[in-house]
Amino acid sequence: MIGRSKKPTLTNEQALAAKPVRLVDAAMQPKPDGGGTLTVSLRPPDKAKWLFKLPTGTTKTFEFDAIGVFVWDHVDGKTSVEQIINRLAKQYNLNLREAQVPTLLFLQTLMKKGLVGVPTEKD
């Protein structure tokens, strides 16, 4: 599309080797069922601050299940996606493929929500 820069795409190898990092500084509040809630403060988008005025202190809460908390705990910028998958499979006695699919989808969701990022070589 004109005027829109193309987002960089990752190969399978790059995606597995990537070490995702957290983009928000918020603590996970544990829930009794093993899950947790993450409350992050919202800020208006950089380009149209005048249009989207948010009251100060506005927050958004994300609910995680136990697997989500496990993945979130391992998103530390040091652990690769492949290591997260292997650890998840070991923790819950899952098949590697069964661990790979939800982990990748979950990380993609976190990236879309702006909670997690993957450093590129330029960074």
């Binding site: 399978n12 597995l16 069922d33 299940d65 697997i67 492949e82 819950y92 899952l94 069964e98």
Partner: protein, 309 residues
Amino acid sequence: MTHTDRLIRSRPQLLAWQGWTLSVPASWNPVKVDGDSDDGSLLLADLHSARLGLRWKLAGRRGDPAAWAERALVDEVGKLAAAEAIDYAMPDADEWSVSRLYHDPSPPGRDVWVGHSRRSNRLLQIVHHAAKRDTLFADVLLPSLTDTSVDAARRWAVFDLSFVTPANVAVQWYRFNAGDLSVGLADTKRNLTLLRQVGPASLALARQPLSEWLTRLPAATRRLYHPIDRPEPTSLDVDGRRLDGLRGVLRRKRRLFWLRTIAAEQTVLAFHDPRRDRIVIGQSADEPMLRERLSHVGWHAIPDGEETP
């Protein structure tokens, strides 16, 4: 320690599908499953790339298996390479009328084995994507390959789901979602049985109780049957253990009385297997048969030394 040694030591998992059984490294999993017992294919991959492809086809009565094997090899690797294929001695030589193996001399490349099983009269082709030269394919994978006759009970093991079917029962459909695996079995009288395995149970049961797993039915079933109103406790004996669970009865909607092909009543059973950390759910019009099928779910997870069904 070579790559092969490492894979052997890492306790391979058993893959059983449409009568074939094969021991593969635990990190290899199906990513594509196609076809039925007569004609189908299966692709296994690890986290990084495709590793093994299986393709099978029922041989014609008049066809020459040796000629087919040669043709399949030529199609896969080309005429010159096919001429370098050798006869490969399978452990159970009587089972295979043809067994030809081509090793790629300069990996990365493809090792190809083609064979014809006398038990099921099927032609099988296995392609191994060899990253480097090792003896995994010839020394570990191929010797573990076995076939089952069409007239015999079949074992199935794919991902974490394993079950046994009698001779006249076929897998009609399957749905493999991460953590939620289900198959539909149909016999020659079109009696349908649904087997479903959800795991890990510790997470699934934290999300909703077993009664919810029992009563939350697929849309296709909800269209035909009233919801289960009163689940009752039940149990199932599985290799010396007693699994606790719930039983519910589905009753066909009254306005569908004219649909004679749809059973008037179906039993739904849900059990929690704490040792395997899985929930097993079954649905069928024939409860004794359903209990028998459910008792075999998870046979491949039975530890060494214990008797398998």
